[in-house]
């Protein structure tokens, strides 16, 4: 067996990440690979292209890299590896098949079946070839003890139609090859989280051909991190970038543990047209010798201080624009800003060099709203004024 179960982020797919037929092809091929051997599996993956190879998150990161956007270094444990694992724990496919017939309203049954699959996945031995490649890639990434983030990357997530946001697992600050492999396995199992299964049943999404990639990236120790929208989440205004951020890891913000600082920046003029400093009460960070993230009280001196300088905010907005331009539609982006400890004065040098994008997805709320045209051409330009002045206010 010599398939490539691990790929560089830049190698993974762009096209039709959520494509169900493609994903079915991968899983089918992977399933077949279990029986027929690795060479066939690799070929099958090639035949269906990059679709579903790394899952949605991995594909998104790959595309960012190819667009020249800086992302943290990392690799993908592909859907092929997941297929190997699944073939090992459920050779006949009957277990996974039983999920498809579950009644979306029967939560106890969903819980029972899902828990069964999860426990099989986390307790069974990972196929040795896969385990070896994951460990090798981890060592290459940062040595034997580097902290990494291990993130689920389902082949159906992050599509505009079906948002799986938050339904699959992410493990931060994981250290050591064994721990990483363990986290990878838990990510695989999270495809069968109760909520995920219930969600798929409700939407009647096919179970056949689902797969899970896993992204492993170097853990950043950011000075500040957060999210940004390349349009106003409040007004839908496409001429601005809205940034929210906090000191340290962005997980404090995503978890809702801080009121973040916010900036609104004009894409056209670079002017900061709105700013608010939030009460950032909690600080997320990770320590060299402890696994996971620890939350502590934000040092007093940092609470009321904005986590970004104006230049940094503008540089972030510029990256946001670049990502948006690449995709052609407004984006919802997770970012981190490298730098010294927040307690130090801001780093000098180009803020743009210190920005990393952790994830980008199309903005979905405003995109879904149909807008009537704001104005239509009139016979004479002055007719616009006449029409307005003739209207009672």
């Amino acid at each position: 067996m010599n398939g490539r179960f691990v790929r560089g982020l830049a190698e993974v797919g762009v096209a039709d990440v959520a494509g169900v037929p493609g994903a079915a092809g991968v899983a089918g091929a992977a399933g077949a690979a279990g029986a027929a051997g690795a060479a066939g599996a690799v070929g099958a993956v090639g035949a269906v292209g990059a679709v579903g190879l790394g899952g949605g998150k991995a594909a998104g990161l790959g595309e960012l890299i190819r667009a020249g956007i800086p992302v943290p270094p990392g690799y993908v444990v592909t859907a092929l590896a997941f297929g190997q694992m699944l073939a090992a724990v459920d050779p006949s496919g009957s277990l996974v098949g039983s999920v498809a017939s579950l009644d979306p309203g029967d939560l106890p049954a969903i819980g029972r079946v899902a828990a069964g699959i999860r426990s099989r996945i986390v307790s069974a031995a990972v196929p040795p070839e896969v385990a070896a490649q994951v460990a090798e890639a981890y060592e290459e990434l940062g040595g034997p003890a580097a902290a990494v983030a291990v993130r689920s990357s389902a082949t159906m997530e992050d599509s505009a139609g079906a948002s799986f946001a938050g339904l699959q697992d992410t493990y931060l600050a994981v250290r050591g090859a064994t721990e990483v492999l363990d986290a990878v396995r838990r990510c695989w199992a999270s495809l069968y989280n109760d909520e995920s299964v219930a969600y798929r049943r409700r939407l009647r999404l096919p179970e056949d051909g689902l797969a899970m990639g896993v992204v492993v990236q170097r853990m950043l120790r950011p000075r500040a991190a957060g999210v940004m929208f390349t349009r106003s989440p409040v007004t839908g205004d496409r001429s601005v970038v809205a940034i929210e951020g906090t000191w340290g890891l962005g997980s404090a913000l995503v978890a809702g543990e801080v009121t973040p600082d916010s900036f609104t920046i004009s894409k056209v003029t670079g002017e900061i047209t709105g700013r608010r400093t939030g009460a950032k009460l909690s600080l997320h960070s990770f320590r060299p010798n402890e696994p996971g993230i620890s939350a502590s009280a934000m040092p007093l001196a940092l609470r009321g201080r904005p986590c970004l300088t104006d230049d940094e905010a503008r540089a972030l907005a510029a990256v946001g624009r670049q990502v948006e331009e690449h995709y052609g539609v407004p984006q919802d982006i997770e970012w981190a800003l490298l730098g010294d400890d927040p307690a130090c004065p801001p780093m000098h040098g180009d803020a743009a060099d210190r920005i990393r994008v952790l994830q980008s997805r199309p903005e979905t709320v405003w995109a879904a709203r149909e807008q009537a045209p704001l104005a239509t051409p009139k016979l004479r330009a002055s007719d616009h004024v006449l029409a307005w002045l003739e209207k009672p206010l």
Partner: protein
């Protein structure tokens, strides 16, 4: 005030107490400016934009005449569908205004039919009409400049007899005074002839921008429209040219900080050909470009550069120094033009359909068509004409002083124009009869008491608005010209104690020491890196913008002079604060937030 209904209202006009020490203020102003009992039912706001100080009696003409002209043009000439004119009232020397909206649908429709025809004629022929306007305005300026004030000598000139003129010059005292008033009125009719339509085009473009990009700042929308070759940069450009010439002609040694204009001019006269060359250029620049008021043209004491050379001669030494060090740069008009186009085309590209883009092009195009008038009319009207007008009135004041009716020429501005009329009649009669005029004992005590009352009223803080809070603001003029919006009214109702609020006119946030100047003649006091806090800035203030870090003004909107210049210099500005010069003291450290339109006193 009691009862729950009072929760959301401003003081009623009838509740305003007389400013202590100015109990007799009503005697200064005509009856038609007084609040009536039924005015308690209406919403009024203090027009601090134009009238930030108590009105001297004569200066009320800068309210009476413009409102007479604005209403005529909106209500009667162009027949705006949803608005008639503006009413004004004076209390404790302050001018409050309200607009009369048209609310009845049928009436709006009837007016709209007439308005459509008339307004589109102006919009469609704007450029040629504006050319014609300039010719008419220049003629009015020539007329006001040529008004003479009779000297009333002991004996009439012989030519009156041998030319069989038949009219003695005391007749012309009244006729020529009336001519000044009449010309002032004609100027204001011209002023509002095109301005309301010009603002209309701007507001429509602006509202489209706000709808398409709800978070666009006022100043960014303005930047897409703003002209590059705006006439009000010209006076400052002339000074830069004079500074260059001074260095080139080798007379630059005379321009030192604190130099006295008459001394420098006398010295130049004795510097041979080079001095002459500079003086000739100076005379050329002076007319008309030194006719810039140090204010906004609404008060007689806002003198022009021509009246008082201190302002240009404060700027000249600095410009001369910059010429020597090679740092005097011309306005980068090409870059400004390119940036304006870039901004407009980037916003345009954010629109989602070509239909919207075409509509945007139409609105922006119309706006740019009307904008040269909107930006430049002020120089012709409020600066050039008005400087000459107040100058002539001052000459009539000198005549009254010569005849002992007034103690000094400046006192003429303590009389309403109808009272000046009476005083001049007195002089006409006295010159004819050979006896003394009777006005001395009559007017001098009145003038003295009015000066005291003005000082007392200056101490009174006028509420930003009076009367009930309106449920809807249905007048486009009020929103267009004064920026009175529902949000503004909310802010008035809940004033913030440590924050001065105005319009963010140029973005950015800076901190620095405040320099509060109440008069442009103090500009010499400004030190590098200070934040200018002033009542209003006009083109005559331009020279200080090279020194300061930010600008804050009591008066002005996002298209005001301070706003435009600050944007060009890329410095934060907050305008239209109403009372920044009162609440901030020189030396205090302040933070100016040009994005939010706030000024905070830090220490």
């Amino acid at each position: 005030m009691d009862g729950t209904d009072d929760a959301a209202r401003f003081p009623l006009p009838s509740e305003i107490a007389d400013a202590p020490g100015a109990e007799d203020w009503r005697s200064m102003y005509p009856y038609f400016t007084r609040f009536q009992p039924e005015d308690d039912q209406r919403f009024w706001f203090y027009n601090s934009m134009h009238f930030p100080e108590p009105m001297p009696a004569f200066d009320t003409i800068t309210a009476e005449v413009p409102y007479s002209a604005i209403g005529a043009n909106t209500a009667r000439v162009f027949v705006f569908p949803t608005t008639l004119g503006i009413e004004h009232r004076i209390v404790n020397g302050r001018v409050y205004i309200t607009a009369i909206p048209v609310l009845d649908e049928a009436e709006i429709g009837r007016r709209a039919a007439i308005f459509g025809e008339r307004a589109s004629y102006y919009y469609e022929n704007w450029d040629s009409l504006y050319e014609g306007w300039k010719v008419r305005m220049r003629a009015l300026i020539d007329e006001i400049e040529s008004v003479t004030v009779p000297s009333l000598p002991e004996f009439e000139d012989a030519s009156v007899v041998f030319g069989s003129v038949g009219i003695a010059q005391n007749h012309y005292v009244r006729e020529n005074f009336h001519k000044c008033i009449d010309l002032f009125s004609k100027m204001w009719h011209h002023h509002t002839e095109m301005l309301m339509l010009g603002y209309g085009a701007y507001v429509v473009f602006f509202q489209f921008c706000k709808q398409a990009w709800p978070e666009i700042s006022d100043q960014t929308a303005a930047r897409m429209v703003a002209g590059i070759d705006v006439i009000m940069y010209r006076p400052d450009d002339e000074l830069r040219g004079l500074a260059r010439l001074a260095v080139e002609a080798g007379v630059d040694d005379l321009f030192t900080e604190g130099c006295s204009p008459p001394v420098v001019l006398a010295a130049l006269a004795s510097r041979g050909e080079d001095g002459k060359r500079w003086l000739a250029a100076f005379e050329e620049a002076r007319e008309p470009w030194f006719n810039v008021s140090t204010g906004d043209g609404f008060y007689h004491h806002h003198r022009s550069w021509a009246d008082d050379l201190t302002v240009p001669f404060t700027a000249l030494p600095r410009y001369v120094a910059q010429v020597r060090s090679g740092t005097l740069s011309a306005r980068p008009t090409e870059e400004l033009r390119a940036e304006r186009e870039r901004i407009a085309s980037e916003y345009r590209s954010l629109l989602s359909s070509s239909e919207e883009q075409t509509a945007f092009d139409q609105m922006l195009g119309l706006c740019r068509r009307v904008f040269p008038f909107v930006e430049d009319h002020k120089f012709y009207c409020e600066h050039w004409f008005t400087s000459q007008f107040f100058g002539k009135i001052r000459e009539f004041g000198a005549l009254l002083a010569r005849f002992g009716v007034l103690a000094e020429a400046e006192d003429v501005f303590q009389l309403h124009h109808t009272e000046v009329d009476q005083a001049l009649s007195d002089v006409m009669l006295a010159w004819a009869a050979g006896g003394p005029p009777l006005g001395g004992v009559f007017w001098k005590p009145i003038v003295a008491s009015r000066k005291k009352m003005l000082a007392a009223m200056k101490e009174w803080s006028p509420p930003p608005a009076l009367g009930p809070v309106p449920t809807a603001l249905n007048d486009p003029a009020v929103r267009m010209l004064w920026g009175v919006t529902q949000e503004r009214i909310e802010a008035w109702l809940s004033p913030s104690s440590d924050e001065v609020r105005g319009f963010g006119a140029s973005s950015g946030v800076v901190e620095g020491p405040a320099r509060v100047l109440t008069d442009v003649n103090q500009i010499g006091e400004i030190r590098d890196g200070e934040i200018l806090v002033c009542p209003v800035t006009a083109p005559s203030w331009a020279p200080v913008f090279g020194k300061i870090k930010a600008a804050v003004s009591d008066i002005g909107g996002s298209m005001s002079h301070a706003a435009i210049v600050a944007r060009e210099y890329g410095m934060p500005a907050v305008v239209g604060t109403g009372d920044a010069t009162k609440r901030i003291r020189t030396g205090q450290r302040i933070r100016v937030d040009g994005d939010r339109g706030t000024v905070q006193v830090i220490e």
